[in-house]
Amino acid sequence: MPIDLTFTDETVARIGRRPEALIPILQALQDHYGYLPEAALRRVCETTEITPAALTGVASFYDMFRHTPVGRHLLRVCVGTACHVAGANHIEDELRRRLHIPAGGDTDPDGLFTIERVACLGTCTLAPVVKFDQTTLGHVTVDSIEGRVREQVELAKRKSAAKSTEELLPHQNVPGQTEIHVGLGSCCMAKGSDQLFHALRESAALSGSQVIVKRVGCVGMCHRTPMVEVTSPGRPGVYYSDLTPAHATTLVQRYLRPRSLSQRARHWGTRLLDALLVDEVAGTGRIEQCAVGQRDPDLRAFFGKQQRIATEHFGRLDPLDLDEYLSHGGFAALARCLGKGNLGLATEMSIESLAGGPSSAALAPNAIIALLEQAGLRGRGGAGFPTGQKWRVTAAQSGDVKYVICNGDEGDPGAFMDRMILESFPFRVIEGLAIAAVAVGAREGVFYIRHEYPLAVKRVRRAIEQLEQRGWLGGGPADGFSLKLSVFEGAGAFVCGEETALIASIEGRRGMPALRPPFPAERGLWGCPTLINNVETLALVPWILRHGAAKFAAIGTAQSKGTKVFALAGKVRRGGLIEVPMGTTLREIVEEIGGGVGPGRRFKAVQIGGPSGGCVPARLADTPVDFESLGAVGAIMGSGGLVVLDDTSCMVDIARYFLQFTQDQSCGQCTFCRIGTKRMLDILDRLCTGKATRANLDELERLAAQVGAGSLCGLGKTAPNPVLTTLRYFRDEYEAHLAGHCPAGQCAALIHYTINTDCTGCTLCAQHCPVDAIPMTPYARHVIDDAKCTRCDTCRQVCPYDAVDVK
C-alpha cells in the first residue's frame, strides 16, 4: 500500500531541514505512521540536508524507531531491574504465548498486538509492568496478564480512554479551605489516581462542597497509591491510601462542611449509613481502612528519616501551578541572581524578602558559583563531580554562544528519580537551569528528556510555555536576561546519558560518545562551551541559593553534602521515592524507610547505581550512602536507583541481566565495550545454564578488569561493575553455578519444580499453569511435567498448601 507522504512533507516543513532536525522528524513520522516507512525516509532525504547514511545510522541506533508496521495495540514489556527480578521474562513469554506472537517476530499474525521490550519505564515500584498503548499496567502476573490485556482491548473498543489530568487549569487558591491532594505522577496514575481524581472532582461538584480536589506531584509512597492527603486549616494532614474511585463520594462527604443544621444532619446521616454499608455502593466505598493517620507507624517509618530539598513541598504543589510555585519561594533564587525585579514578577514581595531587600544587586556569576562550591554540591548524575567546578570551567570559556543542558535521560533501569522530579517540580528544575545559564553566560538551554517519560516531557513543555507567556523566557527583556529553553526528546538509548553522546544526539547523530578531553565545558553542543547537569542537581540549586550554602553543607557527610533522592524498589515492602541526607546507611533506607523485605524472606543485597553500579551485600548494609563509601565497597552512588534483593534473587542472574543490558545499550563504537561486554555475557550465559568451566570464570574476572580499563566512555568503563561486585561478595553463588546449582532458584536451566506430599489435589496449580504442564488430578497429588514446565513460578504462587518445591 503506498504511503501518503503529505504528512512527511508537512513534518519537514514544520520541524526543519537541517541535519539536527533528524531525530524530531523521525519521532513525528513514527508517531504518525506507527513505524518508519522507507518511502517516507527517502522523501526526508530528498527534501532536507539529511544524508541517507546519517538517516540510516540514526534510525537504526535508537530503540524507539521501528521499521515494520506495528499491530493495532502496542504492548511494551518493561525489563528494568525491578521488573526483571519480579519475573518480567515470564510475563513476556506468557504474552507471546497467549497473543500468538511467533518467536523471532514481534507482531501476531492478525496484526492486533505488537510486543516490545523496554529497557525501563521508570515505574519500578509497580513491577512487573506492561504498558498497553498509553496505559501502564502494574503488578501484572503470569496468571493475570492475559485478562488485563483483554480488558484493555475492550476498553479501547469502547473508546473510553481515561480523561487527561494534564489539561486542567490550576485551581484557585482559597485560604482556609479543605484540600484533597491527589498524587498524579506516572506511577500514581498507573494505579488509577487519575480516575480517582476525576471521581473526586465530580463528587465535590455534585455535593456543592467547598472541598478542593487538587492535582499534586509524586507523593513518594508508591506502595500505597492511589493516595491522597487531606489538609484542613489548623489540623494535621490525613492520608488515605489504596483508594479507588469508589471511595470518592464518601471521602468528599467526610470533609464537607455543611453550613446549616439540616445539611449537617444529612451529612451525619450519610456517614452513619456509610458506616453500616457492607457492600460497596458506587462512589460510597468505605474509607476507614484506607485512612492513614500521622502517627501511623508505616508512615512515620517511611518519612521519618527523609529530608526534602530537591523534592521540597512534595505532595503539596500542583506541578503546573506557577503562582503556587512562586508563593512557595519559587524563582526567588533566580531573581536574586538577576537583581530584583528583572523578571517583573507578580509576587515581588516574597522575592524581595528572600533576596534581602529591594535594593539588592544582582549576584555576580562568580558569586553564584562560589555559593555552590561552598555548599559542596556534587553532580547527582552518578559520578559526583563538583558542580561548582563544572560551572566555573564553563563560565571561564570565552565565546558568545554557550549552552546549558538539563540531562533528563535517566536510563538506569530501576531508577525514576529524575522522572518524578521533572513531573512534580518542572518549575524548580527550570529555575535551576536558568540560574546555571546566568552563571555560565548561556542564552540557550535544552531539556534532554527520554521519550519513555511522556508525562515529564509534557509537563516541562507546559511549564516552559507558561513562563514564555509571562515573558520571562524566550524573547528576553532589554536589561540583559534572556533564555530560550527547548525540550529534546530522547529516542531510546541509555548511552545518551553520557554527556558527549547526549550532545551527538541533539545534533542529530548516532549517540556515540566522543573522547574526553575536550570536555563539553570546553567544546560541547555545536562546538560551543556547554554545561550539562543532571535533573536532581539542578533541582537542588534554587534551594541552596535561597537557604545559603552553609545550610546545605550542614547536611550530609564531610565529602558528600546535602541529600540524595533514591528510587527504592525491588524486594522491599515500602517502595517509593525518597530523599535522605547523605550519610544515611543502606540499612536505614532498606529496613526503616523501606520496611525490609517481604515476610519470610532474607535481605540479601542492594543493587545501587544500576548497570554502572554494584551489589552491596546485606552484611555491608551499614555503609553510608555517600560517594566515597559506596565507591569503597565497589559500587557507585549512581543516579539513585536502589533495588533491594532478597534470597530469591540470584546474583549471577543479576550480573547477567546487567551485562545483557549494557551489551544491548553499548553504542558499538569501541572494541572493549562492543565485543568485551558480549564475551562477558557469553560466559554469564554459560554460568546460568550450568555450562561454564572454572577457566571461564577466571576469564570472566580477567576480562571484566580489561573492559573496565580499555573502554572509551563511562558506559564501558563501568559495565563490569555488577560482575565485579557480585564476584567479590557472592563468589559462592558463582561456585554453585559452576556445580550446576542455582541457590536462589532462579536460573531456569538449573532448577526443577516438583509437588510434594502436602498436595491435597485441589487442582489450583493445574488450573493456573500457563503451559498445561500439570495434569488435573482432583484429590490426588499432582505431578509437574518437567519438560513442559517453563519455571514461571505460577504454581508455587497459587498453591495454598506450600506443596510446590523448587530445587
Binding site: T56, L515, Q663, D682, E699
Partner: protein, 546 residues
C-alpha cells in the same frame, strides 16, 4: 608558529607541537604503536582501541589523545601490551574468516598454497615457482615424496575431492626445471658469516637452502660420495634421481658448497669445525648406539641432545636438528626441522637469541556448514571433481593444472600479508581463540563491480564511513544498529558498492583488514600493511611485546 614542548614516553623525552596526538609523538620516537582505525585523513576515530597507552593511571587511545606539556606516557609496558593484545583478541573473537587456509596451516613448511593455485590458474607459472621456492626447499623432491597433509585440510574435500595440491606443486617445479634457466631464488646480501652443516640429508639441505638465502656462506659436509643422504636410498620409481640432482644443482647455483666423503671426528673433530666456522649444524641423521660418543656433545641415548627451542647442543655455536635429535618419519617434517635450525642459527648469527620461527598467526573459522561451503564454491572456477592427468602422462598439462587449480575455494583471506590486524596479532602473540564462542555465519558479498565485502571481517573501524562522508558520496556507508550487532552497510539496503561510487579504491586501500577487497587483487601483493613494518617471523625477542 605553534607552541612546542616536551613530553615523556617510556622515560624518553620527545619534542612535540601543541595539537599533536600522543600517537604522532610516539612515532617520532620510533615506537610502533599498533593502529587499525587510524588514518590521518579521517582524524582519530578511536574505535579499535589497540593504540592504547597509559596516561595518568588510565588507558587512553593514543590516536585521539592530544599532547599536553609535562605529559608522561607509558607505551611499551606489560600492562599496556596486555590491553592491546586483549583488544586484538576481542576483535578476532568476532572475526569470521581464516587469514591462512587450512592447507597452508597444515603444511609444515607453510607453503602459501592458495596463492600458488591462483597463479597456476592464471597461467602465471613464473610467479607460482617464486611462491613455491619462497617456502619449500627441494620442491621437486617433495612433489614426489610429500605425504601432503595439506590435502587432508582442504575445504574442497568437505564437498567432493581436495585439490591435488602435491601434484600441482610438482607441476610447477617440473615446468620450471624444464626451462633453460630455472628460477633462482633471491639471496640476501652476503653477511660474511660462515656455516658448516654436517650431513647432506633432507634436514641439512633444507637448512643450507634457508641459510644461504639469508646471505650466509654455507658448506655442507657429508661422508657419502654424493649429497642427498637418505634420499639417495629411495627407489628410482618413487624418486627419480634426476629430480634430486636438479635440486642439488640449484643449491650449488645459489652458492652452497658441498664437500663429500668427509667424516666428522678423527682428523676433523667437531671442536675444530666450531672454531673455523661461525656456527655448525649437526644434521647427520639417526646415530647408531655409540656413534656419537666421540663428538664431544651431550647425548640423550644415542641421539644428540639439543634444546627444543634453540636447537643448540651442549657445545657453543653447535646446533643439531633432524633425525640426529629425534627420528623424522616424514620428509616434509625433516625439512621443516632444517628450516627451524636455519632460523635459530640465523638469529644467533644476527646477535639475537636463537629461537625457532613463530607459527604464522591465523584467525580460525573452524568447520564450515554446507551453506558456507556453497558460498565459497561461488569462487571456484570448476564445479566438478578432481582433474587427474591421464595414466600415460607424467603429470598435468598446463590446461589440466589450471582447471584443477581453479577448484580451490580460496578460503584464505585475500588480505593475508597485507592486513594490519593479522600483522599486529602476530607481533603481539594474540590468541585468536581466547574468547571462542558461537560465531556468525560466513558471508561474502560479491559485488558486480569487483568489490568483495565480507561483513564478518569488518572491525567497524569507521574509516570507510568517514571517507564516504568526506567525499560526499551520494549514498555512502554507515553503521547500522547498536551494541554487538552494529554492522557496516549502505543506506536503505543498498549494496556496499552503491555506497562507494567515488571512493571505492580509497576505501579498499584503507581497510585495515580483508573486509573490503577487490576480486582481482590476486594474489595478495606481499607488501607492508598500512603504516607498519612488514610482518616478520624473525622479530627480536627482546622487542616482542610481553
Amino acid at each position: 608558529m605553534s607552541e612546542t614542548f616536551t613530553i615523556t614516553i617510556d622515560q624518553q623525552p620527545v619534542t612535540v607541537t601543541a595539537g599533536d596526538s600522543v600517537l604522532t609523538a610516539a612515532r617520532k620516537l620510533g615506537l610502533d604503536i599498533p593502529t587499525l582505525c587510524y588514518l590521518e585523513k579521517c582524524g582519530p576515530l578511536h574505535t579499535c582501541q589497540v593504540c592504547l597507552v597509559k596516561w595518568n593511571g588510565k588507558l587512553v587511545p593514543s590516536c585521539g589523545t592530544k599532547v599536553a606539556p609535562g605529559m608522561v606516557i607509558e607505551s611499551e609496558t606489560g600492562e599496556v601490551h596486555e590491553a592491546r593484545r586483549t583488544a586484538l583478541e576481542l576483535l578476532f573473537s568476532d572475526h569470521v574468516g581464516d587469514c591462512l587456509s587450512p592447507c597452508q596451516r597444515l603444511c609444515p613448511l607453510w607453503l602459501n598454497i592458495p596463492a600458488m593455485l591462483r597463479q597456476i590458474e592464471a597461467g602465471r607459472l613464473d610467479e607460482a615457482i617464486t611462491t613455491v621456492r619462497a617456502a619449500l626447499p627441494l620442491p621437486a623432491v617433495l612433489g614426489h615424496l610429500c605425504h601432503h597433509p595439506c590435502e587432508q585440510g582442504c575445504r574442497r574435500g568437505h564437498w567432493d575431492d581436495p585439490a591435488a595440491i602435491r601434484n600441482l606443486e610438482k607441476f610447477v617445479t617440473d615446468q620450471d626445471f624444464a626451462k633453460s634457466e630455472p628460477h633462482l631464488p633471491a639471496r640476501q646480501p652476503a653477511t660474511g658469516r660462515k656455516i658448516a652443516i654436517v650431513g647432506a640429508g633432507p634436514t641439512g639441505l633444507a637448512a643450507a637452502y634457508y641459510l644461504t638465502r639469508n646471505g650466509h656462506a654455507v658448506t655442507v659436509l657429508d661422508r657419502r660420495a654424493q649429497p642427498g643422504g637418505s634420499l639417495r636410498d629411495v627407489p628410482e620409481d618413487r624418486l627419480p634421481a634426476a629430480s634430486l640432482d636438479a635440486e642439488l644443482t640449484l643449491l650449488k647455483r645459489l652458492g652452497v658448497e658441498f664437500q663429500s666423503k668427509v667424516e666428522l671426528g678423527g682428523p676433523m673433530p667437531l671442536a675444530d669445525l666450531a672454531q673455523n666456522f661461525n656456527a655448525v649444524l649437526l644434521a647427520v641423521g639417526e646415530l647408531k648406539p655409540g656413534e656419537g660418543d666421540a663428538l664431544g656433545v651431550t647425548l640423550a641415548g644415542a641421539s644428540i641432545k639439543a634444546d627444543p627451542h634453540s636447537c643448540l647442543t651442549s657445545m657453543p655455536k653447535v646446533f643439531a636438528a633432524g633425525s640426529v635429535v629425534r627420528a623424522q618419519k616424514q620428509l616434509v617434517r625433516a625439512l621443516a626441522e632444517g628450516r627451524a635450525a636455519a632460523e635459530c642459527m640465523h638469529r644467533f648469527l644476527s646477535g639475537e637469541p636463537a629461537r625457532r620461527p613463530e607459527k604464522p598467526f591465523s584467525s580460525l573459522m573452524g568447520r564450515l556448514d554446507p551453506a558456507e561451503v556453497r558460498a565459497f564454491l561461488l569462487q571456484a572456477g570448476h564445479s566438478g571433481g578432481r582433474v587427474s592427468p591421464c595414466d600415460a602422462c607424467r603429470g598435468h598439462t598446463p590446461a589440466e593444472a589450471a582447471l584443477e587449480s581453479s577448484r580451490c575455494l580460496h578460503c584464505d583471506c585475500r588480505s593475508s600479508g597485507n592486513c594490519a590486524l593479522q600483522h599486529y596479532a602476530q607481533v603481539y602473540g594474540a590468541d585468536a581463540n581466547r574468547f571462542r564462542g558461537e560465531r556468525r555465519p560466513f558471508e561474502q558479498q560479491l559485488q558486480p563491480g569487483g568489490i568483495i565485502f565480507e561483513p564478518g571481517k569488518c572491525i567497524l573501524c569507521g574509516i570507510c564511513v568517514k571517507l564516504t562522508e568526506l567525499a560526499r558520496e551520494e549514498l555512502g556507508l554507515t553503521f547500522i544498529g547498536r551494541g554487538f550487532d552494529v554492522r557496516l552497510g549502505a543506506p536503505f539496503n543498498h549494496t556496499i558498492e552503491d555506497g562507494l561510487r567515488r571512493v571505492a579504491a580509497e576505501c579498499v586501500k584503507a581497510c585495515p583488514t580483508g573486509a573490503l577487497v577487490f576480486k582481482e587483487n590476486l594474489p595478495p601483493a606481499p607488501h607492508a600493511p598500512p603504516q607498519s613494518p612488514p610482518p616478520s617471523d624473525s622479530g627480536d625477542a627482546s622487542t616482542r611485546p610481553r
